[in-house]
């Protein structure tokens, strides 16, 4: 065990059992999986992506490149989980990934012996040719050799949800600067959200022993946390990562609600995706301790110097028996001192600087730590680190070390500042990029702004908190800052040990070495964006948080340009990986999108209806009866029942719009191609609406209930679109018209009955004195009255099926009762409920256009409706519909088809070719849009668009459907297959 005997923020009273690769271990509450593994001397935790090199824990935070594991098992198995972010819980099961057959003995690690050929550009160079082998050979091979974890193969059993939050000031990060920003803005009365990706507030203060106000940092943290939780206007969100910044002060956040539990608490989601809208935001995301590049720097046991401090101080773990620190900066020394003071045996500090500050030297002496100034680590050895080789002025020396804390300096965590295209600027004194232009409303404080010392963090955090609160309209005042003896850190820029032994890694996760950067340079991929894509630097799941800086510094050395001129690639959201499930929230499976049942849904379900989704609606598609073997048999029965007696269908899904006002007639004349101002009260008319480009937008029937009151119907699919279009016309084009719209789609259930017996059925449900006789309610009549003993109703004598038919509208709550009443009244006639399939068959038999024809590419003339267009008025789309191409005789227009061999089946989507013509595009003459088996004619019939249209009635063409293997002769015919004169409608 490497657990220190005292200290740390772990709860030693709460031991937790867990397994890694099947072996059992113990940790404590407050551990991460990484700290618990280190405490159990598990130092080899994974294999690298490309070369399968053994890897250990590198960091103690969200930037972790190496320690990726599969967490949990079965349906909850989650690959690429950073062990440094996974909180330990009782029974946690983790598995190493990317190794075969075992972590300790991985056959594929042989890849590393071929690193000379697997280097930068390997994929591009190797798999270019022959391309045909890609699917069969290259991709499977690459996936097996170079992949990370395995996703679960079953559906995720947990739930996810979305939520919205609003605040004056969003503080991102709960370290020293974030705490001060939140406290300052909170005290001023601003609504503050403090989001922190860690479990407990404090950031680096949880890992440091630096005195604040002459006491351990814990005392300050306790006060700060208590004050924040006492402020009712401050909301602290732990385990919450702000992963994106969007327009208008919108921030994406992921709250890990149940990730620290074996299963989420009952009725709680695993994760919650927050959309936070903030007037102002302060980014206090700290900095990453970046590695130094030298041979063997990826060996398990090599970790960041700040991680060494964190494991020692926060988790009371010594990650190896003998620690050495290799750095170029003061901050690494204080990490070494804190680790030593916590109980880690730190034997030496190797600093590339010749003369480190005297105060540090004194600190090292006091702790009995040997100092090697002007030294560089040039090699490491051991399966897990056992020794390092250091080059000094005097030569080389080998030191025993199980852990090597490395630090090339701090890299501000400024990713969020560049999401709007802001380019960070290089600060040579800090050897770091610092934020320059930030997204609107976002300012930066603390280490993320390059203000690395604790005192600077406090000061800038408080200042930005004041500024943000003031911007949001609050009278904020600066408060006294906590006292700390911490001084600004100094460093000497240093990136890469020259002449070290073995592969020197820049990007651990994607196995990009210093040599790969040199190859990219040699081959001309020198711009940072090219360097990134050619070498895959920074393109792994960690997005190069710790590695990018050294990579571009090495490129800068090679090109001789400065680092500032070389520049950095821009970051994009998300900051850390976000599960798709979290983005979907509850919108999955049944709740993928809302389901809209019709008013008669329950009744139809009891009749055994099969339902079909039409947009969001669920409509009855057909009503199979016992003994019927397929849908065609059912639909045929339904059609025959309507044509011979009477049938019933729910048509409530049509869009219905109420129009009132003195100008409705004028208005309708402008939006329909035909005239409605002359429509008599009590009458309905079929109308066609164009878009302004002259193509058909929608069709439907509109009735006039009173002088200044019309009711429009639209197709189910276009209900919302037509409403929006009408509002556009009224608000933008003709704001002076007196027309008031109201959607009544949901208010009225509308039931259609059709068939020669439909009048007899209807007559039984209407209340006196409503007269539904042929004279009282003629074809296209529309009347208001009462049904079923007092229920108000609107009755329209319309037909889509071609039979005598009525649509009866009643308030939606009465829809089912009306249906039952009609079914009872129709029982003597064998009234038959039918669905959308039979309706579709009958409209094809009648040659009516529908959604398959209203494609947005067809004009009224194309659809055979050109004669409806009024020439006495202007209307939307009129001018553009007059373009010559629309009148071209060769344009494909609407027409009917039947198979020459009547036994053959037609297929929608088949293209028309002249008989004997080769099937090439030049010979294409149109396509079949709708087909049906006609029970009335006892053969297949079709509708479609054919060059020349009606002029070709009687001709034969070839219907060619290579997708489904159809290739038959069809005869061109009038689209009105059944009752073309419409006599049945008027009986």
């Amino acid at each position: 065990m490497s657990r220190l005997s005292s200290g740390g923020l772990i709860d030693r009273a709460t031991p937790l059992a867990f397994t890694f690769d099947g072996r059992s271990y113990k940790g404590f509450a407050g551990d991460t999986l990484a700290s618990a593994l280190l405490a159990n001397d598990v130092r080899l935790v994974g294999r690298s992506f490309k070369y399968h090199r053994p890897r250990g824990v590198f960091s103690a935070g969200s930037e972790e490149p190496n320690a990726l594991v599969e967490l949990r098992t079965g349906a909850r198995r989650e690959p690429n989980t950073r062990a440094t972010m996974a909180e330990l819980y009782e029974g946690l099961e983790a598995t190493s990934q990317n190794r075969w057959p075992s972590l300790a003995f991985d056959l594929l690690s042989a890849n590393q012996w071929f690193s000379s050929v697997l280097g930068a550009g390997f994929y591009y160079k190797t798999f270019m040719w022959p391309a045909a082998l890609w699917e069969k050979l290259y991709e499977p091979a690459i996936r097996r050799a170079a992949g990370l974890g395995r996703a679960a193969e079953q559906a995720d059993p947990d739930s996810y949800e979305k939520a919205f939050a609003f605040c004056d000031v969003l503080v991102i990060g709960g370290g020293p600067s974030g705490l001060l920003a939140a406290l300052t803005a909170g005290r001023a009365g601003a609504r503050v959200i403090l989001a922190d990706e860690d479990t407990i507030l404090g950031g680096r203060l949880n890992s440091a022993r630096t005195a604040i106000d002459d006491a351990a940092p814990g005392a300050f943290l306790a006060r700060a946390r208590a004050e924040l939780s006492a402020l009712p206007n401050v909301r602290v969100m732990p385990r919450t990562t702000i992963f994106g910044v969007y327009d208008g002060g919108t921030y994406g956040a992921l709250e890990r609600v149940g990730d620290h539990l074996s299963v989420p608490a009952p009725f709680q989601p695993r994760q919650r995706y927050w959309k936070i809208v903030a007037k102002r935001a302060v980014l206090c995301a700290g900095a990453f301790d970046r590695p130094i590049v030298f041979g063997g720097n990826d060996r398990p046991g090599v970790m960041s110097a700040q991680a060494l401090r964190t494991y020692a101080v926060r988790y009371a773990v010594t990650p190896g028996r003998n620690a050495v620190v290799f750095a170029n900066n003061d901050h690494a020394w204080s990490a070494a001192f804190d680790a030593a003071d916590a109980g880690v045996k730190v034997s030496a500090i190797v600093d590339v600087r010749e003369t480190p500050p005297p105060a540090l030297l004194a600190g090292a002496t006091a702790r009995n730590i040997r100092v090697i100034a002007g030294g560089e680590v040039i090699a490491t050895s051991g399966k897990c680190l056992s020794s390092i080789t250091v080059r000094t002025r005097g030569g080389t020396e080998t030191l025993q070390a199980e852990v090597l804390g490395i630090s090339g300096g701090a890299t501000p965590n400024l990713a969020l500042t560049s999401y709007f295209g802001g380019r960070p600027k290089y600060d040579a004194a800090l050897a770091a990029f610092v934020p320059d232009q930030t997204p609107p409303g976002l300012s930066v404080a603390g280490a993320a702004a390059g203000q690395f010392s604790l005192a600077q963090c406090f000061a800038t955090g408080a200042a930005q908190g004041v500024a943000a609160a003031r911007d949001a309209g609050f009278a904020a005042t600066p408060a006294p800052l906590p006292e700390t003896g911490d001084t600004p850190t100094s460093l000497s820029a240093f990136w890469h040990v020259q002449g070290s032994k073995g592969l020197a890694f820049v990007d651990f996760q994607n196995d990009v070495s210093a040599k790969d950067i040199a190859i990219a340079h040699k081959e001309g991929f020198r711009a940072v964006e090219l360097l990134k894509r050619y070498t895959t630097l920074g393109m792994a799941t960690d997005q190069g948080k710790s590695s990018n800086m050294a990579g571009l510094a090495i490129m800068a050395e090679l090109t001789g340009q400065g680092i500032g001129e070389t520049g950095t690639t821009l970051f994009r959201p998300p900051f850390t990986p976000v599960a798709l499930g979290a983005l979907a929230g509850h919108h999955r499976e049944k709740d993928f999108r809302p389901t809209r049942p019709t008013p008669t849904h329950d009744w139809a379900r009891k009749q055994g209806a099969v339902f079909v989704e039409t947009g969001l609606w669920l409509r009855a598609q057909y009503f199979p009866k016992p003994g019927e073997t397929d849908w065609l048999e059912t639909v045929t029965r339904e059609v025959k029942a309507v044509r011979s007696s009477v049938g019933l269908i729910d048509v409530s899904t049509f869009g219905k719009i109420d129009l009132q006002g003195s100008d409705v007639g004028v208005f309708l004349d402008r939006v329909y191609i035909n005239t409605f101002s002359t429509l008599a009260v009590g009458k309905a008319r079929y109308g066609v609406m164009l878009r302004e480009d002259g193509l058909v937008m929608d069709d439907g029937t509109t009735a006039r209930l009173a002088d200044d009151h019309y009711v429009m119907t639209t197709t189910t699919a276009n209900a919302a679109k037509v409403y929006q279009h009408l509002e556009f016309c009224l608000q933008v084009l003709w704001p002076d018209l007196d027309v008031q719209l109201a959607s009544i789609s949901e208010q009225w259930a509308q039931i259609a009955i059709a068939g020669p017996k439909s009048r007899e059925v209807l007559a039984q449900v209407v209340d006196a004195p409503l007269d539904v006789s042929n004279t009282g309610l003629p074809f296209m009549g529309a009347v208001e009255g009462r049904v079923m003993g007092g229920v108000k109703a609107r009755i329209f004598r319309l037909s889509f099926s071609g039979e005598l038919g009525y649509e009866i509208a009643v308030p939606a709550r009465h829809g089912e009762a009306l249906t039952r009443a009609l079914m009872a009244a129709g029982a003597p006639f064998g009234i038959t409920p039918y669905g959308t399939e039979a309706l579709g068959v009958m409209r094809i038999e009648k040659g009516h256009v529908s959604g398959n024809e209203l494609t947005g590419q067809t004009s009224a003339r194309d659809l055979g409706l050109g004669k409806m267009a009024s020439t006495k008025k202007d209307y939307i789309g009129r001018v553009m519909a007059g373009r010559p191409a629309f009148a071209d005789r060769d344009r494909a227009t609407f027409i009917g088809f039947k198979p020459v061999d009547r036994a053959q089946r037609l297929r929608a989507g088949a293209h028309f070719l002249p008989l004997g013509a080769v099937p090439v595009m030049e010979n294409d003459e149109g396509y079949m849009s709708s087909v049906a088996y006609s029970p009335t004619l006892d053969h297949w019939i079709g509708l479609g668009f054919l060059k020349g249209g009606r002029a070709r009635i009687g001709q034969k063409v070839r219907a060619y459907d290579p997708v489904r293997g159809g290739d038959i002769e069809v005869e061109v015919c009038d689209p009105g297959f059944v009752d073309p004169e419409g006599e049945r409608l008027r009986v």
Binding site: A163, F164, F267, P594, A812
Partner: protein
């Protein structure tokens, strides 16, 4: 999807009952209200001032200005857009409501019955705002959205009208009839964490 809704058809109203952990008192109480009449009131051009006068004179209420509510007795008007209101009458049906409004406004406004087109769902209880934070994409903090405020917005892809009926707080939603099952699913999923009591939707 919440496990607790897995067995309930997406096309059916979520049955009344208690959802979530058993607590001494539910965190959220949701009730689908009946006995309400609804109608849209669309004021004709240039008639807003006149309608405001008529509302005061005949109905005893000050026409809401912007997305707010105004009530007098059993009648509430909710502003839904410029010159547009949703009228809600408690304890009556559509026809009498239209009659009353027609009597008050005459030809100055177009009236359309919506009593069957919208379901009204009321939310109350100590965790109401926490529940609504998962549903409503607007700021319902009491410093921003107060009793008498209203908003038309989108909840779980569903167009709704929300208004705060009481500072307690009590919120009400008008939801298009066919979207009510989906709305209740989202609501129950969001509120179950706090213990949600649902009434008025029948036993399923």
């Amino acid at each position: 999807m919440s496990e607790l809704l897995a067995e309930i058809p997406a096309s059916a109203l979520v049955p009344e009952g208690h959802y979530g952990p058993r607590t001494p008192a539910p965190g959220v109480v949701a009730a689908q209200l009946s006995q309400l009449a609804l109608a849209t009131v669309a004021v004709r051009p240039n008639a807003l001032d006149l309608v405001a006068e008529l509302a005061l004179e005949k109905l005893g209420l000050a026409l809401p200005h912007g997305p707010r509510t105004a009530s007098a007795g059993d009648l509430t008007l909710v502003g839904t857009g410029p010159r547009r209101f949703l009228a809600i009458g408690e304890g009556i049906t559509g026809d009498p409501l239209l009659e009353r409004l027609g009597h008050a406004f005459g030809k100055t406004a177009a009236l359309t019955d919506q009593s069957d087109g919208q379901m009204v769902i009321q939310l109350s209880g100590p965790r109401t705002r926490d529940t609504l934070a998962k549903l409503v994409p607007i700021d319902l903090d009491p410093s921003v959205f107060k009793a008498g405020d209203a908003a038309a917005t989108l909840v779980a892809l569903i167009p709704v009208l929300i208004w705060q009926a009481d500072p307690a707080p009590i919120y009400r939603f008008a939801v298009p009839r066919s979207f009510t099952p989906a709305f209740l699913r989202a609501l129950v999923g969001a509120g179950a964490e706090f213990g949600l009591q649902l009434t008025g939707t029948g036993r399923g």
